[in-house]
Each structure stands twice: as structure tokens, then as C-alpha cells.
Symmetry: D2
Subunit: 348 residues, 4 copies
């Protein structure tokens, strides 16, 4: 089989770097081009220093983009919807890692992003990029819109409960703890080390536009609420979501186990993590650095009929590049785990 | 005025060390004795290295304790209730920093601690140690039971709302993020640096016995629930509580400001922190290291009629030694802020 | 006694913030003005969030500066020498925290800073700001130039040996480990948290212009070399210097003890730290956060006739604001430790 | 080709865990057994949580060990020399990751380890485990003794210079900065998070017995000295060595480049890292987490005719499990990089 020629647009950011790292090891892919206006002409290893001596690729400009088999778009928000026609002309398959095409409903987009979508008629052509929810549609799709990292963590943790209608629809509270790489590779006053180090910063206490994705994927026709907060902690990679769910009627620990096992039994990247003892009784993001796993666990607060669901990912992997590659594998009929085999490190 | 002679029982732990640090600078106090069985005879600076060259005190044994004006008890849980008669014979004023005398109701104690209290008749003699709630009783008290660190953070954040009955009683979800010093100075498998570093550990996902204190102090005659979780993060000192409160009816930002300002206007150790921009728009525990502040802020999620209250402390200070000293100052008629003036560091 | 009126020029940086924090507690000082062009009109607590509710001071502009009793200059390198006449007209005493007036010799200045000094004739009016070396001159001085943080750590560690001529003059290797606050409060690509976190960055492997200060202070007429390197590690505050010294003839541990004890016996801010066991056998910068201490210890490698001297400070304190205040106290005849009593925290 | 059956003795430690992780992906190896007395019968994923869902292996006891094609020994110091006959009877090839067989000379062993070696006659059968120095002997060897992590970092950094006799033999000073995983997985007072976090601990200021390996490998018949210090910093994985070398005669930057390029040109795991700008101008250990690289860079201090060589590794990989597997690949005629392809993460 000849290899697929794949290009990455906007490849100098953290997500682009992870995609390059992953694709370099993909047995059925050749990276054709990687673009960056800012680092035009520079070798990839200059920007992604972990890839020194691993590739001779150099960044080219957007204008140099050639036809290829698939395009990954890692552009700032708003850019993909502006240039989508051009990208469609270049490649039959596109995976967009921005937020541009995540919402199916143009009105919802406008509500959450405060401006009308530029190409509302295309929203329905994109499959929302969580394979565990949309694998079958992905297999036939041309266009995929990768899910946000906080949304992925939350949705995968809650999906079994919401699908079965087992959570009171207006009661769920979700608190995510996130690392600094989520905000990208641009230095800002907020990312200055003496300020960001050691912080426990309530940067999105009362909600976040990524909630829109959660509502879209978890509603199943109901009018649901996700009471969302995000806290930035001293960590580079990783998201941990703590979801407080209130089932309408008491659920036993056994029932919950069965529900999650049934839903995710065949999933290669989901592990149910709930042990009796040890330091890693529940999901821990640092174990997932570099991997495509979403680990999910739970605890039952019987006194209050509350179910606490804990889910963790690496935001640059299952929350971005890894999940995009998983979707790409599905689209192309490859084994889903191809080039996503790294199991993570311990200790770290 | 002659100085008060004060002793600290169990002074080799982190809380004991902070008490020594503070009392060394108290203009109206002489530290008489500090006890530690394990470090008997050793100089204080050997165990608390920040105090090298600051004191010549050495640890003595429990059996060497002499009569004094006040005793601080920093013993492991269960010890104070066992030996309370002896301590009462030694000093007219006692501040117990363990959980032994925090709950007023012996039945509640038994429910949460899974064994009967040894001296239930004494519970009513202890004033619960949050000055902002019980200042007047403290001024006349002989015995004070210091509040837990997670409880202090949560109670101070929620008190104005619960006192006024402005929160739906069964809906509040509280997520605390805590540092490693909360677990004390004994090395354990869980505190081993390669494991504890970088962790986001859901160690109390479904509740915690310290919830009992919150219920006691926030009920005001109602049947309330606090849906509590605790997550350990990579930090030594500090607690940040994120409380999701659902008011029965919509509250405006202005009303909330007024409520918190009114409640805490005269409080020397409470700051309302809510700014429009910058890295420190909301409370940040690292700014509080070494101080006795509780910073409180909030965010309104109008879409969902949710109020998110954020409060932060240094667990060893406002959550332990600092608050105990604040109570001691009140008991003895000293200016409340005496020896608690340190404003904290930035950056750190 | 009426209080001295003191102003801080360039008070929005980290060093300026520390000076404000310290001076707010100085019993003989009133802060008259603090300047910042960027934060003109803003309250101090907006920039230095630890000082919220501690001061009502607002930043004024350079042009608003009034006459006062003493000026602290915390300006970027090069500014003080440009405007020194104006500052001299405003205040009889000046402490400059920049590098402008550290070197006594204009030729040396030109060699290390690559441009001629603008006011070479003034260099001799400034006393180099390490009190342990120049206390007597300071007591009579009008102008003091604060020492650099890496230089202070290194000089204090090596001073007893070099003064006595006990080190081979060309052999000493010094490796400092430094935190991120040393580079100031401006966000840069290098201070971006995902890059700076967890780093062990050899940012000055082959030397540093601050070496010039070390040579000036340690030469005692000899032709000496300091082989200096600096490595940035994941820490906000703190410097630890490891100095490898080769005595010409064998020195016993006892002789070294005696030398250091004799030199520093009366010093309020120097502690000899060398214990047989425990985690804090040798100086540890984190214990010094917020303090003005320089802790010094040593280890003897008898096999190689090498003496390893370890010294640690808080770069913003003994390496900047704290040492400047110590000098100010000496200049004004105050107790040297005034407003510098904070002993540091443990654990932290 | 049928796969080799390989067992790991003492597989519950950090090094053992890394070996399992690596060997699970080795196309020519089946892991036959992994032993642990403490975790006997437990699944590997319980101890090495990154391997959950990646293997069904369980720990067996030492007494259960079967014959196999190769044994990796990850036992505490002293155990391998005690039981070596038994291990030799079980497998034709042994890689010992302890310090037991690193020194060729029994007298040197006794000098540094303070007790006679139990099987001095076997020392010469073991090849010292740095492939870049002993690849040819390894290819024919049965027994390999893995090098220490600090020794590996230092030796690889200095080897080109010492081999060519370009360093003054008695002048080299080496300072390594190390993470907490180097001390193993047992919790101690020194590894307690509140103490170990944020530390800059001079734990081996005046030398270390691993210096013996450096002297052995770098002497080339000369009487050399390595003035070694080790400082523990707040990091889990990683070693960075800063070596201060004094060439007898001036070396130009170009000559040094040529020397290192020539020496290491064909090495798959050595990268010369020396760039003009950016955050990663010189080796950075965090980029190497999980990889088998040793990155080497240098800076020339022409003023002092000093050459500073900086080298970095992941102590559990190139400093232990990775290098052991590299040696194993060589012994067995496999491509040297087999199962060692992971390029590391950025950011992290």
C-alpha cells in the first residue's frame, strides 16, 4: 500500500508539534508539508525540540500548500471557517482542530461565540470528533471537527449516564483542573512563570464556551445544564474533570460499574480506573502524558445520593492531536490505535 | 504587663512549628515549653529549620509540662480527649488544634468518627474556633477547638449566604484543592515525591468527615447538604475551595457584593477579592503562604442562576496555627492581629 | 523621632514590591511616593496583590517625585546613571538597586558592559552594597549600590577564604541554581510556563557579567578567577551557589568552621548551616523565601583536597530589596534587622 | 524468528517498571517472568499504573524463576553478587542494573564500597554498560553491568575530551542536578513531598561513589580527578551534568564541534545540542523523559580558557532501563534502537 500524504496547517503550535511527533511514526503516512508563517523555512526541530534528529522537515508557508490525501488544520479560532474552501480544494479529508466546526447548530454557535458563523451551511458536514460517540459516522466522513480538551474529558466521563438518562438534567456540576499548555505556546502576562507557577487560578469559574459542546453531545433530547468551572493549576499537560452527578434514583456501585463497562468495554483508549488502595485509585493525568487514553473512575457518596465521576486526559493528546489521529485512523480504515501505542510513563 | 507563659504540646509537627514561629514574635507571650516525645532534648531549629538562630528552645517531654497561662494542643486525633483533665489542671486556657472537640453534638461525633466520644460532656465547653463566627463567645471562653482547614475555607466562603438563607439547602457542591502539608509531616507512600509531585489526586472524591463541621456551622436550623470533594495538587501549602451555590432566586452581582461586604467589613483577616483583570482576579492560595488571611471572591453564572464562591487560605495558618493564635488573642483581649501581621509574598 | 520619608522609583517590579512590603512595617519610615509609569494612578495592591488591604498607596509618575529623605532606585539597567543628578537633587541618600554603580573602576565597567559609563566620576561615591563587607563605609555613606543576587550569594560564601588567601586564585568554579523571579516581571518566550516549568536551563553556562562584582570584591589584590555558570531551575525565588574551592594546602573541617565562625560570628543575617543529618544539612533556598538570610555551609572532599562551599539566599531579599534595606538601616543608624525579622516558612 | 524469552528480577521498582514498558513493545522479545517478593501475585498494572490494560503479567517470586534467554537484574545493591551463580544457571545472558559489577578492579570496589567484593573473579566477565564506549565488546558479551545514571551523563559528556587527552587531568569539576526518582520508589523522610518539593538539596556535595565509574572510564591511563557534586532539585526524572573542563591549550569552538561530531556521528542516541537562540539552546532533561537520548552541548569561556560541557539524560532510561535495553539489543544483534524509538514530549 502506498502511504497517504498528509499535511499539517499551523504546525508550529503545541498541537501541531504533537501531530508531527505522532505522524512520524505512523506506518501508513508520509508527512508531506507542515506550515508556519512565523517559522517559515526553519527546521521542525528548532520549534519542537523533542524532534531534533527525528525529521528533516522544514516549515513552509500556507501559500505553498500542495494537494494531499488529508489535511490537519491547527489554526487559530476563526481561520478555518474563513479558508475552508481552499482547504477542501486541496484535500478530500480534513480534520479541523479548532473550535470552528464543533457545533452543529449555527444559532448555538452565534450564541456562544458572539458572532455569526461564516459558513453555517457547512456545519452539518463535520462530524464531532469524539470517536467513542461517533465512530460509525466518522468511518464514512470526509470532515471531522476535533473536540475541545475540557469538553472531551467531561463528555467521556458523563456520556454513559446522560445517554441512559440517569442524571438529573439540571444538577450536574463539573470542575476541571487544567495545565498551562491548554492556553497555547504564546507567552502572556498570565503564563509568566513566577505568576503561573504554584497557582490555583480560577480562570473560568462561572462557565466557558466549551460548555456548548458538552450540552450538544450530552443532551439526548433533554434540556440539560452543565455547571462548569475551570481552575488552572501548576501542571503543563493534563486535564482532570470532577463531575458531581445527581442520579434521580439511587444507583449502586455495581450498577455504575456495569454501565461504564458495557459502554466502554471495546474502547481501546478508555480505561475504568477505580481501585481500593494505592496512590492511583482514580484517574491521574500525569500518567497519561503523551498517551491517547481517557481514564475514568467514580466514587459514590451514598449519604447524599451523589455520584462523583472523575475523568482525565492529556489535553494535547486525547484532547487534541491524539484524538484527531484516532479519528483519522477511523476515517481511513486503519487500526484505531496506529501510532497511538505509547502507554505513558511512571513515575513522572 | 508581664507576659503570658504559653506552652505547645506536640510541637514537632508542621502546625506546632508554625505556632512557635508566630509566638516567638508575640509581644505579650513567652513560650514556656514545647513538647515532643520523638525529638526530646533536641533544639527546635533541628526540626523546624526556619527557626535556626531564632530560638534556643528545646523540646521537652509531655511529663515535664509545667503549669502555664495557656496551652496549645497539637496532638494526633484522639489524644486530647484522652488527656484533657491533665491539660485542664495545667492551664486555665486551652486551644486544641485537633478534631477532638469540634463537634458540639456527641451523636454527630459518633456518626462521623465511627466511635463514641470519650468525654461527651465536655463538648459544650469548647467554642468552635472560627473567630468570624464566634468572636463574642471566644472572648469569654476558656476552651477553644480550632477548626479544620478545609472546613474553615468552606465555611468562611459560604457563611454569608447560608446565614441569610440565600442558598438552596441541598444543592451546594464544594471542591477543594489542597497541598501536601495538610497530611502532616510523616512520610508515607502517598507523599513520596515521585508520586506526589505533579499529581491531581482525587483523594476524597465523595466526602470527608470534616463535612460535619461545615454542616454544624452553616445549617442555621435548616437541613442542609454540602456535596464535598477534595483533590490533592502539586503544592505544599494552601487550600482553594470552589463552592457552587444555587440561590433560590436570582441574585445580582451588586447584592452579593453588599452581602459579603456587610458581613466581613470589619474583619481584619478577610479580603473580598474580585477584580476585572489581571492574574489575581480571584483568591489565590500562594499569595497567602504564611499569612492568616482568608481571601474570598465570587463569579456569577447568570445563565444557570449559579453563584460560584471561591475562598483560599494557608492551611497551616488560617487553617491551623494562625487561626488558633487569632482566637488566643481574642480570649486574652489582645489586638486580634498581634503577631499575625505578615502580608505574604509576591511573587512566590 | 519623626519618621523618614522614603520614596521608591520604579516600584512596580518584583524588587520594588518587596521594598514596599518591607517598608510598610518599618517603624521609622513613611513611604512617601512610589513611581511607575506603566501603572500610574493604580493602587499598589493591583500590581503587588499580596499588599491588598495593607496600603492605600498609589503609583505616581517620575515627574511627580518630591524631595524626601531617601530614594530607592529600582530602574532598568542604565537609567540610574542617566538621571542621577536629578535623584541627588531630591534626596540626600540614595540606594540604587541596578547594576549601574556596582563597579568601582570605569574601565572594568566598560569591559563587562560593552559601553562606557556615563558618569564614571561618580563610581567612587557609591559603596558596594554588601554590609558584611562594607558596613563601616556604609554607616557614613550617602550613596549605596546594591549588589547583584548571584554576586551576593557567591561573595558571601567565598569571602572568608579569599580574604585569608586560602583558595588557589585561579581554580574556583561556581555554579548557581536560580529561580525565575531573577529575570524580572516581564513575560518573555523564556518565561512561558510550559517551557520554563520543570526546566534545568543552562542559561549562562560560560559566565556572566555579574562575575565582575565577584572579582572586585574577592580579589584582595590578587589576580583571581571565578569560573561561573548559572542554571535556571523550576523555582520562583532563590539562589543556591555551589562553589568548588581548591585550597593551596589541606584545610581541616575544624579550621574551616573556625574561619567562618570568626568571620561571621556577629552577623545577624548569616547562619552557618552544616548538620550531620536531616533534610536541611546544608543551606536550602526555600527556607529563606521572604527573609534576609544568607545561609552558608560546606563539605570537604579530602580525597581531592577540594572544599565545596554552599550558600543560599532569596534573590529578591538578600539579593535585592532586603539587602538594600539592611544597608539603609546601617546608613541611618537603625538596628540593622529592623523590618527584616521575618524568619521564613517551613514547610513551603 | 522465535522471540527471546526474557525475565526481569526485581521488577517492582522504577527501573523494573521502565524495562517492562519497553520490552512490551519489543518485537523480538516475550517477557517471560517478572519477580517481586513484595507484590507477589499482583498484576503489574497495580504497581506500574501506566501499564494498566497493557499487560496481564503478574509478579512471581524469585524462587519461581525459570530458565530463559536473558535476565535483567534490578535488585538492591549487593544482591546480584550474592546470587550470581543462580542467575547464571538460569540464563546465558545477564544484564545487571545494580552497581555490583561496574568496577573492573576489586581493589577499587573495596575502596569505594567499603567492603570486599564477594565474587571479585567475576568482575572481568562483565562489560561496563555504556554502548558508546564498549559496543564491540558488548556484541560478544554474555554479561553486562549497566552504568549508573550520574556516571553515564558525565562520562558521555566528557569522553571525547578525555579520550583525546584534551583536559587537564586534575581540574575537571562536575555538578549534576538530579530528580527524585533517582533515589528509588521507597518513601523516606527525605522524599516526603512537603520537604522534597521546591528543594535545591546539596545531597552529595563532596563526592559520590559513582565517581569511581567515571575515573575508570575516563582515565585512559592517566591519573585523573573528577571533582563531583550532586544537587537534588524539584524534578522527578532527569539528570543534567555541568562539567567544567580546563583544556591544557586553547580550543576553538570549531575544534570542539569537530571532536564531538566525529566521536558521536554514528550514535543513534547522542545529539549535539548547541543553538544560537531559543529556550533549548543546550540540553534540557525534560525533553528526554521516556527517551534513551543523551543530549550534549557546550559553551566556551574564552576569557578563562574553560570549556563547559552540558549533558542530559533521563535517569530511568539512558541512565538505567533504556541503556540496558540498548545493550541487550547489541548483544543479540538487533537494531540498536529497537523499542527505544520514543522521541520524548514537548511541551512537558
Amino acid at each position: 500500500m502506498s502511504k497517504l500524504r498528509v499535511s499539517i496547517v499551523g504546525a508550529s503550535g503545541y498541537t501541531g508539534g504533537e501531530l508531527i511527533r505522532l505522524l512520524l511514526f505512523h506506518p501508513f503516512v508520509d508527512i508531506l508539508q507542515v506550515t508556519s508563517e512565523r517559522f517559515f523555512g526553519k527546521p521542525v526541530g528548532k520549534v519542537h525540540p523533542n524532534l531534533r534528529k527525528r525529521t528533516n522537515l522544514k516549515f513552509c508557508g500556507l501559500d505553498d500548500l500542495q494537494e494531499c490525501d488529508a489535511l490537519f488544520l491547527c489554526l487559530p479560532h476563526g481561520s478555518a471557517q474563513k479558508s475552508i474552501d481552499r482547504f477542501k480544494a486541496l484535500a478530500p479529508r480534513i480534520i479541523d482542530l479548532s473550535a470552528d466546526f464543533r457545533l452543529n447548530d449555527p444559532l448555538l454557535y452565534e450564541k456562544w461565540y458572539k458572532h455569526p458563523h461564516e459558513r453555517p451551511e457547512l456545519l452539518s458536514e463535520f462530524v464531532y470528533g469524539i470517536p467513542e460517540l461517533h465512530r460509525e459516522r466518522m468511518a464514512k466522513a470526509q470532515y471531522i471537527s476535533s473536540a475541545g480538551c475540557n469538553a472531551t474529558t467531561t463528555i467521556l466521563g458523563l456520556y454513559p449516564l446522560f445517554k441512559e438518562g440517569l442524571a438529573l438534567p439540571d444538577r450536574t456540576v463539573v470542575e476541571v483542573k487544567v495545565g498551562s499548555s491548554e492556553a497555547g505556546n504564546k507567552a502572556t502576562a498570565g503564563s509568566h512563570h513566577p505568576e503561573r507557577s504554584g497557582c490555583v487560578r480560577s480562570f473560568m469559574p462561572g462557565g466557558h464556551r466549551h460548555t456548548a459542546e458538552m450540552l450538544q453531545e450530552l443532551a439526548f433530547g433533554r434540556d440539560i445544564r452543565i455547571h462548569f468551572s475551570a481552575t488552572a493549576i501548576d501542571m503543563v499537560r493534563g486535564v482532570l474533570a470532577t463531575a458531581h452527578v445527581f442520579p434521580g434514583k439511587p444507583l449502586s456501585e455495581k450498577e455504575i460499574w456495569q454501565l461504564y463497562r458495557k459502554t466502554y468495554a471495546a474502547e481501546p483508549f478508555i480505561r475504568i480506573v477505580k481501585e481500593r488502595d494505592g496512590n492511583y485509585r482514580l484517574p491521574e493525568p500525569k500518567l497519561l502524558w503523551g498517551t491517547n487514553y481517557c481514564d475514568i473512575g467514580f466514587a459514590l457518596d451514598e449519604e447524599n445520593n451523589r455520584l462523583v465521576v472523575i475523568s482525565a486526559i492529556d489535553n494535547l493528546m486525547k484532547g487534541a492531536a491524539g484524538q484527531a489521529l484516532q479519528a483519522f485512523n477511523i476515517m481511513n480504515g486503519f487500526e484505531e490505535t496506529t501510532a497511538l501505542e505509547f502507554p505513558g510513563l511512571h513515575p513522572v
